[in-house]
Symmetry: C2
Subunit: 137 residues, 2 copies
Amino acid sequence: MAAETGWSLNPQLAKDTTPVGDLALCRVVAMNAAGFPWLILVPRRDGAVEISDLGDEAHRLMDEIVAVGAGLKSVVRCDKLNVGAIGNVVPQLHVHVIARRFDDPLWPKPIWGVPLAPADAAEFAGFVAAVRSRLGL
Amino acid sequence: MAAETGWSLNPQLAKDTTPVGDLALCRVVAMNAAGFPWLILVPRRDGAVEISDLGDEAHRLMDEIVAVGAGLKSVVRCDKLNVGAIGNVVPQLHVHVIARRFDDPLWPKPIWGVPLAPADAAEFAGFVAAVRSRLGL
């Protein structure tokens, strides 16, 4: 099982996101994309690339995916959660949890790989604060 | 928690895939897309749409995602697994587990939403048989 010692957030993820806070296993960060409430869970385990690298802690990852999804649904309108562990560009294991709406600009297409404009800064800050509060972070 | 009674594979998933077999929680089916070894796990729980609908069985889903990913990696060349629960088109809860390669035709883009040609029929049948054998199905 990978250790927390030595872990740090991948520089590309750090550049692209805003910190929300730390759960027991994962750092939660937010992507700023207008119209798409988008959180990313990053297990603080050095060298983890695939979910299997977490060993027994994969269950905790699942618990945190569910908790973050519930938190997201409670602060924004959401018709469907999109959950994905892709990692083709940033190899450090991370899981996207995105709130999708039937009337969002890309529905029903997946969001990954599509260039997106950032949201209004105040609106995004409000979203991050609401998620932080809801998750107790 | 959702029940197995009343569950049946969504007709669109049934049309688009080939059965591989049943694990304790999920039916495993294979998508036929040339160059992309692609399995889908469908929890046999009536009405499940989001992972949270599984309740405590979300841990079992995670175990089966890891097991199917390991099985996939053992039968094909794979540089990165792509795992996703999207469900924007087919609402029945299902999880994609796809073997990606650095030299596949779409790398590093995600595969979802891209029209793909089917593989050679014999090659696909061989893939399904190999996965079935490896997963003990």
